[in-house]
Symmetry: C2
Subunit: 477 residues, 2 copies
């Protein structure tokens, strides 16, 4: 029987991908809360834990690369932000400006960093003198503000978010190009190995690339909603910024040259993507890699057996120290707890009652599939390790199969319109002209999310002229 309190706390009321489903999952799974500032959200502990997990993984990867972390100021003077023309043109509409401090008007207004190229490169210009100072490769973990005027979506499109941004300088264009490829591979690992999310790799069109870059590599994710979303990007900045900021070095022949630069970022959006990918009508589903707890133990007993069952449950918890385990001793019914932890996305539930104790076993239930299994206590650690691994793999596989099943090759515009309506991910060809890119966008409400190949012999899906690129087209967030 449900108590009053239990009844109040009902589950997910929207179906997956109904418009309010995602926000309901985030809030009812107690991951995220709204703040008094529209578009700025609160990361509750189990959500922040996911970000820390990504940070730890990524820091390890950076260590192997030899990239160190640093910290640069939050506030950027207006003149500095405006030094690279394409850059400020891209970011100006969404910059938050500090104009006052205490009771005083500032002489020059200060931007809250929408990204840190300008503040970082103004300093790189002082640090770099000769080829001996190269490569210079730094990373920073920080908060970012972009004052989006579109409808904000928690994690996916928020006005403040957390990210890492890497900024490297090299002596040659080739090194810069290699860097962004290597970084994109690390990002791919974050998505696949930590978040269980398959990605689509490519690069952005001229129109969609980062303001100030010569090339932007991207990972795009195709979600079960039939929409794609940009997962993270790595930019080859060429010499655009080094020329604007006078970052020059003397090479081994004492010849002065501008450095070649890259910048690359992965944000808390990645977690939003993983949650949107895997969660369901019952609530949160995520990989055990980022879930906290990974396992919840729910004791089941009549009034006489309480002490005995709780004691055994504590023993099981102790035995499982290698995992993140929570023993739910709250005074609710088991049924309520099952439901509550489905909502909160604990990947595994362990049920233990008097009969299980007698049989020296527990019952294990998977959040992803609902599959139930009796496991002997003596085998429990080995078995759980296997199941958690399998949950990660299954989530990835299911998502990957969805993408593959919903990817279609399209050769003419009429078909493109139809397939977009059917919420498909389109593989097609494009001449490379902005006019055709715009036509696709205007006529289908979808866009070229990335280019994935240059070697094309067919015809542009839009103008029917010779194609230059193979591209993915989809609706996108």
């Amino acid at each position: 029987m449900q108590t009053k309190e239990e009844k109040k706390k009902i589950g997910i009321t929207f179906k997956k991908y109904e418009s309010k489903w995602f926000v309901e999952v985030l809030r009812k799974a107690e991951l995220l809360e709204y703040s008094n500032v529209s578009g700025c959200y609160i990361f509750k502990p189990r959500l922040y834990f996911m970000w820390e997990t990504i940070q730890n993984f990524f820091n390890e990867e950076l260590k192997k690369e030899g990239v160190e972390s640093a910290y640069f100021p939050l506030l950027i003077p207006e003149t500095l932000l405006k030094k690279e023309k394409a850059h400020i043109h891209g970011f100006e509409p969404e910059v938050a400006w500090v104009t006052r401090a205490g009771n005083k008007e500032l002489k020059e207004k200060l931007a809250i960093r929408p990204t840190s190229e300008t503040i970082i490169y103004s300093v790189y210009a002082k640090w770099i003198r000769s080829w001996r100072d190269l490569p210079l490769r730094l990373n920073q973990w920080c908060n970012i503000v972009r004052w989006e005027f579109k409808n904000p979506i928690p994690l996916l499109r928020s006005r403040e978010f957390l990210w890492q941004e890497g900024h490297s300088c090299f002596a040659s264009k080739e090194e810069a190009e290699k860097e962004i490829e290597r970084i994109i591979e690390i990002y791919e690992k974050v998505y696949e190995e930590i978040l269980a999310v398959p990605v689509i790799k490519g690069w952005k069109t001229e129109k969609e690339k980062f303001p100030g870059a010569i090339k932007t590599l991207t990972l795009e994710i195709f979600l079960p909603s039939g929409k794609a979303i940009q997962g993270c990007t790595a930019h080859n900045l060429g010499q655009n910024f080094s020329k604007a900021f006078e970052i020059k070095f003397r090479d081994r022949e004492e010849k002065e040259n501008y450095v070649w630069q890259t910048s690359w970022g992965l944000s808390t959006r990645s977690i939003g993507i993983a949650i949107m990918m895997h969660s369901d009508d019952k609530g949160l589903v995520v990989s055990p890699k980022i879930a906290n707890p990974q396992i919840v133990i729910i004791p089941i007993f009549g009034s006489k057996e309480k002490e005995k069952v709780l004691k055994e449950a504590e023993k099981i918890k102790d035995k499982l120290k290698e995992f993140r385990v929570e023993l739910d001793k709250r005074e609710y019914t088991p049924g309520y707890k099952f439901h509550d932890w489905e909502l909160k996305g604990a990947p595994l539930r362990i049920e233990i009652g008097p009969k299980d104790i007698k049989n020296r076993q527990v019952v294990i239930v998977r959040r992803d599939s609902g599959k139930k299994e009796e496991v002997k206590v003596k085998e429990i650690n080995k078995k759980i390790k296997e199941i958690l691994d399998d949950i990660h793999k299954s989530l990835y596989k299911k998502a990957k199969e969805f993408v593959e099943k919903n990817t279609v090759n399209v050769e003419n515009f009429q078909e493109l319109i139809e397939k977009i309506k059917e919420k498909k991910l389109i593989k097609t060809e494009w001449c490379g002209k902005e006019k055709c890119e715009d036509t696709i966008k205007n006529k289908t409400k979808a866009k070229i999310i990335c280019i994935f190949s240059e070697k094309i012999n067919g015809r542009c899906v839009c103008c029917n002229e010779n194609a230059s690129y193979a591209v993915y087209v989809a609706r996108s967030y």
Copy 2:
């Protein structure tokens, strides 16, 4: 012989505690850089590493306490910041305000958090309903902006800094009181076990306590400059904020009551304090716990022996994997490298040359004492572990002895004036009246840095009436 490049890069030119010495150490040790915004500084990798070390240690301690991390927004609406009167009164003069976004004037201006009580407690009010929701204890790592108009000093008084802030709610005043005592103990560990800095424990006077608190515990550090500095604080907020923000709970008897709160913070200032405490006329000195690298290997060879010595140096480096080691292969003279790593504060230097290889030994030189020692290669790991431990202890001991030697008991005002002139740390007694506190400040330029005891039978150093408190008085940053 020094090359041109070497000569340019001269060492520390100021004596310890001359006014520009601290900044020179920070910059020449390549820890910190100025930015284009006055009072905002750049943390270079070896400085940021120190902060990460503190974060890791503190996170482990919080885990034991059961405190989890979360993240709350950077921007606070003006109305929210103004809800607790003492609080806004204390912070208003130094708040940086966002008034514009893109090309639009905001309807309500937004403060960049000078501390997060108001934004966090507006949400706690929604989360807390009953005694079951208590205690609520969260921590966040973030950046803070306080637009100081006094002369900024890197790390010690900067306009942006990094910190952690903890925010707890309890059902009783006693629990809140215990919390701040426990947290101050953890902070003491950070200073003593990580930074090798001895602290003075006490609580703030009514005038100096946190705006909105009923009591502020503090750790103060007395530096060899003869000035004290606040190291970190933990506040018992009583019910001041819970009343302003309506954070109420029903207790076990269904009676409604306001929660009792605490907040507590430790910032990057702590690193500045450690650097100022231990560094010297040759450059940076810090505990091996936060130094990166801890050990630098400098190979010494004539042109014929280069290959052999470098090979052996690499072997030593591999052997020392449990430490943070750097092998300096740069094409500079050994003398230049010795000097450079003294400047940068590597706690240990290993010299290895042909004679050492023959004798299966290396020469180890301590940064703190300059002491030189020959160590057999087969004993090197054990020996280095001992030396690094001893460096930490020696730094702590030296600082502790300095404080003890310079602490004096004072019973009358004339003596107080004299001892402050002699740059002493004063132990004395005080009646508790603000008038006397002000007189001390005005006449000596020193202040009551903290109260350390209530049970006093003597007389106030200022007015000669009955004393209520034993206090420390010193000049301070």
